[in-house]
Symmetry: C2
Subunit: 600 residues, 2 copies
Amino acid sequence: MGSKMICRNDLDFLLYQVIDTDELVSLERFAEHGRETFNAALDTAESIAIDYFAPHAAELDENEPRFDGERVELIPQVKEALDQYYGAGFGAATQDYELGGMQLPFTVSVACKAIFSAANISTLAYASLSGANANVIGAFGSESQQRLYRQPLLDGRFTGTMALTEPQAGSSLGDIATTAEPMVDGDYRLRGSKIFISAGDHELSENIVHLVLARIKGAPEGVKGLSLFLVPKYLVNEDGTLGPRNDVVLGGLIHKMGYRGTTSTILNFGEQGGAVAYLVGEPHRGLAYMFQMMNEARVGVGVGAVGLGYAAYRHALDYARERLQGRPPESKDASSSPQPIIAHADVRRMLLAAKSYVEGGLCLSLYGAQLADRKAWSADAAERERAAMLLDLLTPVLKSWPSRYCLEANSLAIQVHGGYGYSRDYPVERLYRDNRLNPIHEGTEGIQSLDLLGRKIMMHDGGSFKLLCDEIQVTIESTRCDSRIREFAESLQAALDRFRDTTKALSNLLREGDAKHALANSSLYLDAFGHLVVAWLWLRQAQAALAMQAASGSESEAFCHGKHMACQYFFRWELPRIEHSCHLLRALDTTCLAMPVDSF
Amino acid sequence: MGSKMICRNDLDFLLYQVIDTDELVSLERFAEHGRETFNAALDTAESIAIDYFAPHAAELDENEPRFDGERVELIPQVKEALDQYYGAGFGAATQDYELGGMQLPFTVSVACKAIFSAANISTLAYASLSGANANVIGAFGSESQQRLYRQPLLDGRFTGTMALTEPQAGSSLGDIATTAEPMVDGDYRLRGSKIFISAGDHELSENIVHLVLARIKGAPEGVKGLSLFLVPKYLVNEDGTLGPRNDVVLGGLIHKMGYRGTTSTILNFGEQGGAVAYLVGEPHRGLAYMFQMMNEARVGVGVGAVGLGYAAYRHALDYARERLQGRPPESKDASSSPQPIIAHADVRRMLLAAKSYVEGGLCLSLYGAQLADRKAWSADAAERERAAMLLDLLTPVLKSWPSRYCLEANSLAIQVHGGYGYSRDYPVERLYRDNRLNPIHEGTEGIQSLDLLGRKIMMHDGGSFKLLCDEIQVTIESTRCDSRIREFAESLQAALDRFRDTTKALSNLLREGDAKHALANSSLYLDAFGHLVVAWLWLRQAQAALAMQAASGSESEAFCHGKHMACQYFFRWELPRIEHSCHLLRALDTTCLAMPVDSF
């Protein structure tokens, strides 16, 4: 029962046949890159994931971090794996050459992240958070913050956190109560308590850099009064050496259903008078800065969910091919040999559904990552703007669709295993438990749906949404003449038209100020939107598979046919479900809104 | 954070207003009963559940059974709770008075089971299995088997198991390889290995009675060659005292995702020459006997799933009422006070969905249980036959619908709690993990779907299905004239017509011998059928709520309105999904069937 990785054939197909990652090389930023360097990065990621990440995933789950009152202990393999990760340069994979980075496209680093997530997401999380943390400091930090904190974060000497959530506030960031008091030296003293801070304490690094949302005394209420602070666990001297311990205390570890290897912490700031805190950027702009990190984290949540679902799918596939049990319905001869369970139609249904979710999710993540690359590095300002609009619009989908459907792939993988899938001797139950976090953290599904319908759809006067519809229309036009995939093109056209109408109706209502009714069923909208986008990407996969097969012939026949069938599954079994969602949305169904609290 | 039980108002409503449990009293079997005795049993169940079952549920989960090589150790509260359970007579609740039983209707005992399951399903499982085991011995065992084993099982001195599954066979019972060799004394020596045997070893009882499916040497292949054997852990002397240890050895404990308090075991029979085994009933009829136990266990799985989902729903409801966070979309004033999260439409959506699943599931379980009572005890042979036909038909639904949708309620309950729901400090993640077993054991969803479409629908030349359709039609006729619920009656009529057409088409195909295509999408059929049945029962709930409100006035207004809204949710948000399933079924969609193994 070896570890299961992202299928490299699939990754190559998505990167080079569907997303056209080759084109990124034409951007100056990536001029020195090409398939060779991209594949080298993927090879290295795969080899470190197999040799150092996967082997301790189960042991880490069974031996979650312990706090002895002084230190948080983790099994030693976590540190060994992270040393390999940083040693191979993944900590700074996308960074500038002069920062010791590889200047890899974000697209390729997201592909690597899928590989590491499939192997062991709990260990990866320490590095992922640190990278996102370093990026915020890189974008908004002062020169000295960059010098003292950013580089050690990229090297893995320091690790980072994002500290938003408070016990009383949760998703409602406007109610954050942590305060920052300005001192005569220009720095601040921070006081307050944060909860669910991932990687908030451990001994994996020399120092931990907390990026904390807090309110400077006297600042406005709500999110507009939030500022971003850098609060290190140990103060850092001007020469980069570590100074005394800062006033940040671990209040306790939270023990979770899964994702157990990543510490989840309660952090108390300023219990001994005030934690030394450095303002990042300008006052009262903290939420905007944090959202740079948050948006990266949301893409990361999505691809993490893909990795966990993908690994489970591959385990289930192996199991279904090897496990002999039962006979086909048309031949119940008891003396015949049992067949592999993959021969049963219902097992194939579960595997095909899982395939459509995880490969669809991976394509979605890579597409989103490519938008981030184009937004950041395209030479053409209009192209950058276009990519930025699409990425902003799609971020709630990039986060939530894989969190929901790749989690469903995990559940299907358990089901394929039968009783064995429910036992802790097989990895699929752990992968399920790990993935169950993803619809919750970095903005729940409900929060994502409000962000999508209440903000993103309305931005640029609906321009981002129109841009996406145009992109989808291009794919429809280029596929509807091919009889092999015309069925899908036509279904997509119908779904697009329907969804566009629904969007228009809800947008009008929002413009009229009736947010209450327009947003009441936002989670249906998010779900339907995600299915529309993934269906579109599945059609692109089917189209690319046809092209690839024409080019490579029988060698890739089985693979390409599998893509076609998964596309067919998604179009016939999944996409039609949005019809009913659109109906409820257009009808402004008030069932949920109207349910009185005392009638539950 | 106290334990959450089944809402007694709801249980009373379902038992007395919807299912008409009062009518059972007219049967001779229950002549001495009435609401008073039923309610006394429910009160006692609730009090034992609260005082003895719920308090150790979390501790049992965190301290799962351990095998020290000699004995299986459990925390002592399990035994204390079971002593209370047996002491109050629940071990023999439905048994004859002369056996020390209470002669309660199965309907009431199922209601009690929901209460115990909500409190602590792992502890309950030891008693549930024992009860089902005793019933098989009662129905098919010899006089001496009854005398020596049945009564101690009802008293709780002995506990029981059902041992079907083997490592190489799983769901494919025809491949069972355990053998039984006849001895000169008329008994048998049993050899083989069984896996996933719940409650297969522990120190909770003086003896463990295994009911084992095995093949007498020379018996036919397949399920037709299986016989049922009684294999005690300790041999029992003629005077009832315990004799020597039998040749049954614990091969190991299986560590599970949830349901951790119930031991799941590998049992090796006959490693030291042969386990002494007693044939139950006639040779080669083992599967039929076992299915008596299995069918009872399947209803039990369903109601257990209801209990777990229901408890989670009630936890989520309390949390959503108390947790202050965020503001309504129409008033984003940061200085206003945060509202309870139940005020958010999306939280209400999750709670309403969960309510429709768990209250719908409870109604389904009670309806099924009442059929079992009528099947067993009606004075009228035609009525017994009618109930038997409906119960047989519905058993796959009674097992699988709550296992799927009440599990979904568990997931929604986690989501309502946000990050807290993912932490082990709150019970909802445990309840989820416990419930994830239910779609797997006692026949997976796939197995249930084949049983339903391949066997049950076809039985009596479609007569059972016709009987159910007639029942549904009666409800439609009695509701379509009431403008308050006409919408639901009309939706149900449309869904029934559609589903009947689909069934007819598939039945014709089966009669033509094309099982391969007819059964290919059987899991869609099971799911759609379950939704149709639960929608029907929701309409009955809405109808009963209107009647109750007319009778009791404002006292029950909020409760009755809640029933109406949950019905509305189910009809508007859930039932329409079967339309697409019927479409795929009628189209005989071959996507899953046609997916080649090497294209995954």
